[in-house]
């Protein structure tokens, strides 16, 4: 018998793997990919709760999350291309001009 808890556990593990990626990878592209992983973990939790609570609203939220994720990826990848074109690096640690 698969319950809501199973789906939430899978979602939590997926989110944790995404957090590991954001914390350990240096490449801007890989950080963006790991953010996608975390978005998807949230999606899974929303759909699982939509099923458990009998409310289709959770699935609508997933639609909005996908739209926001697409917007985020577009701008993020544009910035990535600019980084590699102007600074010749994709290392997130080397791009720290906004820090003082």
């Amino acid at each position: 018998m698969i319950t809501l808890t199973h789906y939430l556990l899978a979602s939590a593990l997926l989110f944790a793997i995404g957090v590991v990626g954001v914390l350990t990878r240096r490449n801007v592209l890989m950080i963006l990919l790991c953010i996608e992983l975390m978005f998807n973990a949230a999606n899974l939790a929303f759909v699982a709760y939509a099923r458990a609570l009998g409310d289709t609203g959770g699935q609508i939220i997933v639609f909005f999350i996908i739209a926001v994720a697409a917007a985020e990826v577009t701008v993020g990848l544009a910035i990535t291309i600019l980084l590699s074109r102007q600074f010749k690096t994709l290392n997130a640690d080397e791009v720290s001009f906004l820090k003082w």
């Binding site: 319950t3 808890t5 899978a10």
Partner: protein, 171 residues
């Protein structure tokens, strides 16, 4: 029974692929692993009766977002050595933070599942068909739906502006 088999199959494949996304040396393989994650998630969505969301997952994520990633990776054509570097220095801090976070999540999940046994009742299950979701989307959630177009428009304008910016000419 069959439900449990498929759940563990798809969840196991999803988590293994997610692990491979994070720890692969080649970004190209990471993107393809993310594709596997998307498809396994779509299968889980189907098991949760969210058919429309599963279709969106495959069409939008696998079809559009990941293709964008692939384009950029092939466009940049980076040396694999520079991509493989990991931030070993933050392993300990990251591990501690992650352990705390995961423990927090698991505690919340188990606390919630102790209240109601969390069984997915078949009677009150929402139908995730295109009709049901579309009805809700264009009635109750119409204004947020229209507002998403502004986000997309802002993203398009931002991407085009960033992409068109010229490197300032040296005098």
């Amino acid at each position: 029974m069959a439900e449990a088999v498929f759940f563990y199959l798809f969840t196991g494949a999803m988590l293994a692929a997610a692990w491979s996304v994070v720890f692969n040396r080649q970004p190209l393989y990471s993107v393809l692993s993310l594709l596997v994650v998307m498809f396994c998630l779509a299968a889980l969505f189907v098991m949760l009766q969210a058919y429309f969301v599963a279709a969106l997952q495959v069409l939008l994520y696998a079809g559009a977002v990941l293709v964008l990633f692939l384009f950029v990776i092939m466009l940049l054509n980076l040396a694999p050595e520079a991509l493989a570097r990991m931030r070993v220095f933050t392993w300990q801090g990251g591990g501690a933070l992650l352990g705390l976070w995961l423990a927090f999540l698991l505690a919340r999940i188990f606390a919630a599942s102790a209240q109601d046994e969390g069984a997915l009742s078949a009677a009150s299950a929402p139908r995730g068909s295109v009709e049901a979701v579309g009805q809700l989307l264009f009635e109750k959630y119409l204004i947020p739906f229209e507002l998403t177009s502004f986000i997309i428009l802002a993203a398009i304008i931002g991407a085009v502006t960033l992409g068109k910016r010229e490197v300032p000419a040296k005098r």
